[in-house]
Symmetry: C2
Subunit: 459 residues, 2 copies
């Protein structure tokens, strides 16, 4: 096989055995054991990617695509005896098209690189998951979200077109520099969020927006978490469309503040009573509407029971947002055993939170966290050492979310960690359709087997 892969990418760009570094054995998921793949190939072009897939399909070698490896669900944890296709050599920004407000990039480009490339043009790609070292290809795979999704949507709302490599060895083009089209089934949307199980994106066309000149950040302190969650629909009802609308419980706020040396100037007596925080980011091309929005929301938060509301100025606002982006690392440092990514209709967040907390308490587990409150996307750090107890708890928490109209993952994807829960809990009719779709794209089943479909139940 090594020779066959080398014939595609050149012998310098395919390795096997111990020559595959340990970084390629895992992503950042907290659960599960790293797996060494059999082969690692680094294609330079879309055509090489497609040829690699054809060679792998002919030999029934499982293939796992890898971007920057920053995923949190084990979607790029390789299969034993499998091939990892790493996109590190396909990392060019191909086009910043100012008139159409789109960028065309290769999958290995990171969010930070795209941000740097769009900034001089006064444009931005609005998908900001916590980790800016993530690759665009990876974010397409997981349909990544992040804090600004409440205003700008997630990856699927901002990717307009793809070129993708198929196990047949063919390349397919979908969509384009088009914000709308009604011309056949939407293959772009189908590939986004498919976690490397249908086709591998080799070129990605994303939508850009003008960078707003002004921003402001409000932080409201509450004495209980459900009160924060109940405030969310009220904030959105005003029509002051926030760019960021996050909640943090007090444990998380203390942890990220310590980790990042954050001093927000909260009065000691307020901090002592605080159980939860609401962070609201606004942006605008003008300053005046921001000030109006801040005033209006400040008054509203008062009536909703906020102990105090702070308008954070430039540097401390930036530091708070950066600290929030790093909440995963604070949770990891504090010994969290898993990070949940459940999404529920935002108005039922309090009910979900109460139910999940009760389920955790029953098994002596502990949940703390923060989340994209505007989207109902709850990130909970789970402290529960025993694997079996934890998986069983997670299964019940996922079932609760689904019962409340939610889903297992809002933005991290299912990966190797959560696929088994998904296949056990999902609508069998929907699952059967997904199997049929998988069959149409990947009849040999070489693309990331065990992810999205066909997982074993752990819970």
């Amino acid at each position: 096989m090594l020779d066959r892969f080398a014939a595609v990418v050149g012998s310098a760009h395919v390795v096997t055995g111990d020559r595959i570094g340990p970084d390629y054995h895992h992503d950042e998921a907290l659960v599960g054991t790293p797996v060494a793949p059999r082969y690692l190939a680094r294609p330079a072009t879309a055509e090489e990617t497609a040829e690699l897939l054809a060679v792998a399909a002919a030999a029934r070698v499982p293939v796992t695509a890898r971007g920057a490896g920053t995923g949190l669900s084990g979607a790029c944890r390789p299969a034993e005896n499998g091939l990892v296709i790493s996109f590190e050599r396909m990392a060019a920004v191909l086009d910043i098209d100012v008139d159409n407000q789109v960028a065309v990039v290769q999958p290995g480009v990171t969010l930070a690189e795209l941000d740097a490339a769009t900034s001089p043009h006064g444009l931005m790609y609005t998908v900001f998951p916590g980790e800016l070292s993530a690759s665009i290809g990876g974010t397409v795979g997981t349909n990544a979200g992040g804090m600004r999704a409440v205003r700008y949507g997630v990856t699927r709302h901002n990717v307009l077109g793809l070129q993708a490599a198929m196990p047949s060895g063919q390349l397919v083009r979908t969509g384009g520099k088009l914000t709308k089209m009604s011309t056949g089934y939407d293959l772009t949307q189908l590939i986004i969020g498919s976690e490397g199980t249908l086709a591998l994106a080799t070129e990605i066309t994303v939508r850009l927006y003008p960078r707003p000149a002004h921003s402001a950040t409000l932080m409201a302190v509450f004495t209980d978490l459900p009160a924060v969650m109940r405030a969310v629909p009220e904030v959105l009802r005003t029509g002051v469309a926030p760019t960021i609308l996050e909640y943090l419980d007090t444990t998380t706020m203390e942890a990220i503040s310590r980790a990042q040396d954050l001093e927000l100037g909260i009065a000691p007596e307020v901090r002592a009573a605080a159980e939860a925080y609401l962070v609201i980011g606004l942006d605008n091309r003008e300053r005046a509407p921001l000030d109006t929005g801040i005033g209006l929301l400040g008054e509203l938060l008062d009536t909703l029971g906020a102990l105090d509301t702070y308008v954070l100025e430039g540097n401390s606002a930036r530091l708070l947002i950066e600290a929030r982006e790093k909440a995963f690392w604070s949770a990891k440092a504090s010994g969290a055993d898993e990070i949940l990514d459940v999404v529920v209709p935002r108005a039922v967040m309090p009910e979900f939170f109460d139910g999940a907390t009760a389920l955790a308490r029953a098994v002596d587990a502990h949940l703390v966290g923060c989340g994209h409150a505007g989207d109902g996307n709850v990130h909970m750090a789970v402290y529960c050492r025993d694997d079996h107890t934890r998986e069983s708890l997670l299964h019940r928490v996922f079932a609760l979310a689904i019962e409340l109209g939610g889903a297992i993952s809002g933005e991290h994807g299912l990966g190797r960690i959560k696929t088994a829960h998904f296949t056990a809990l999902a609508d069998p009719v929907a699952l059967a359709l997904m199997h049929g779709i998988k069959q149409a794209f990947d009849p040999a089943g070489i693309l990331n087997p065990g992810v999205v479909l066909d997982g074993k139940v752990l819970g």
Copy 2:
């Protein structure tokens, strides 16, 4: 068959032969001949819809879903010997959920009815195609757009979840009251825009936004159409995100003004020199940013060569937008033989326009029109009586659009009218995937055969 369908919906709700009124033989497409279906059934529930499909699938009876019949591509023109499923009895607004800012509706609810139901709550469904008597189910089928898509996106950006009936007789649920999720393949997005060929939506969850309190409308007059199109990227670059960004050529403006008795107070010497108009709608929860936006855009349009720019006040603004919504009817009244719906990257609209005009001139055909300039969605009325000449012209215009990075349809869908052009011009790899998807949903091929896939080439 009649008895079998009657066993599902009751004999009062299924008819055959001459008892099927002529309205059920067609939609509003200008091309093609009405077709009388063999059966018409009106289910009352999702379960009845699914059972009808199972009965039809067992007997290999083709099924065409019908909402309000306002489509423009013949997607609900029935198959001979087929069954039409009309959703007129499934027309209830099931839920206006203010806290989650979503509505749940049955497919037969019209856009006008949903607008009336959301208005008292200060919310709105933002998809406004010209025809508000369209059913929500129909707009899901075609992925309808309309004038406000430049700000709020098209149907696929505003439908969060579906319940849909399958030819297997099963119901499937996709998505939910969730603005984001990364939990398996996105079946919601796949069904949207599939024109009744994959599954029939029996319940639709849509996203609502707060109704902005203030709006303003600008109209700029230009001496040539490419100048208007070149102004579009400049307007969007300002960051003043318009709700509406439309162009009209002078023929269209004269026609809609006459049809709607519109008097916009344009000075006679300006009107005499006018060849094209740009209409910009803004909305906001506050008045002040609107005024700033109007001022800024007015100055910009001056520098871009506008002869004159008018700020239209309340009533005349409303009348202009309404007249623009009725442009299809004005074109039809003026004897147009077809209305195109091509979409291209917005910055290449001038090139597309020049190329299409040259192709038309070569066969003595005539193109006039208007369009959603912000989205690159060009609606051209085609005046070309001879069917063969016209289809051949359209084929070359579609090919030109695709060559420029565009697609055949921006929002009307392919229907019976344009499917043949699509299957002839589309990427064969993409087409093969679409056939595989079709197979997963509808193995017997009963759902709207000849639409999206398998059309004959007319051009």
